[in-house]
């Protein structure tokens, strides 16, 4: 089955980021394909490359970044542009467009629009939402 995931909460504050990751991992192990993971609301913070958790804790951002489909293909990790910008999450391109110095999106993630979420709903057999 082709599955897409929407993550609505930030890492460490809320378990849903971890639960979504565990779900994705389990789905892949069961032979399903993850078509896209879409990060929305505070979920955009899952894509910060500046995340530095204590050494004895899990690294939520790297967990997402290292997740691969069973055939080794990469997973499409999309961060909503509107939600990201209002929360200070920018990649190089958005930083340039908005005259902001520096950028913090992990290279395993890409910034794009909400249309990617709707398209994931259309293209996937299931869209699973994680959040409050």
């Amino acid at each position: 089955m082709k599955i897409s995931i929407q993550v609505n909460e930030g890492p460490y504050q809320h378990q849903s980021a971890d639960t979504a990751y565990q779900f994705a991992k389990a789905a892949i192990e069961k032979g399903h394909e993850i078509f896209r993971v879409f990060f929305y609301h505070d979920g955009v913070n899952n894509a910060s490359r500046f995340t530095v958790p204590p050494q004895d804790d899990r690294n939520v951002v790297n967990n997402w970044a290292d997740l691969k489909n069973a055939d080794g293909s990469d997973i499409d990790r999309v961060v909503c542009v509107a939600a990201a910008l209002r929360r200070g999450m920018l990649d190089e391109s958005e930083a340039g467009k908005n005259s902001v110095e520096g950028n913090n999106i992990h290279p395993a993630f890409r910034i794009s629009g909400l249309g990617q979420l709707i398209e994931a709903g259309i293209q996937s057999d299931r869209l699973v939402v994680f959040g409050d």
Binding site: Q6, A83, G113, L114, G115, L117, I118, G121, L127, D132
Partner: protein, 134 residues
């Protein structure tokens, strides 16, 4: 592109958290994809379409007028939980009179809001392909 039934489930008050505002942003984008779109308002989500919202005192943008524009985007199925209204001492009269113009009926103005029981709502939900919960 194939057509699916998308339902946006609004469960939170319009202010206090950003879920309602950002849900509405998804709905407006979704309209461009020509899918079958409906909205449901349950729990505190019913407050999102209460008439006469004023936000001056909390310094937040009042985005309630955006719901009035949904009809122009062919989004005209807004289901409201009767039980959620009752629990909060609200009735249909407290809601914004949201309407759309029916192009198949000489652009007659018709209501977009339907107050339904939770039992009816669960039937409508089980008929959907995609439910996005906010």
């Amino acid at each position: 592109m194939s057509t699916k039934k998308f339902m946006y489930l609004n469960r939170k008050a319009p202010y206090g958290t950003v879920y309602a505002l950002e849900s509405l942003e998804v709905v407006l984008i979704a309209a461009a994809f020509e899918q079958d779109v409906s909205l449901a308002f349950i729990d505190d989500g019913v407050y999102q379409i209460v008439d006469g919202q004023k936000t001056d005192g909390i310094g937040m943008k009042n985005f309630s007028s955006t719901y009035r524009a949904l009809g122009d985007y062919d989004i005209n199925k807004l289901y409201v939980s009767k039980e959620s209204l009752d629990e909060r001492g609200l009735s249909e009269d407290d809601l914004m009179p949201l309407v759309y113009e029916d192009e198949d009926d000489d652009w007659a103005e018709k209501p977009s809001v339907f107050v339904v029981s939770n039992a009816e709502l669960s039937k409508i939900m089980s008929d959907q392909d995609v439910c996005l919960s906010f």
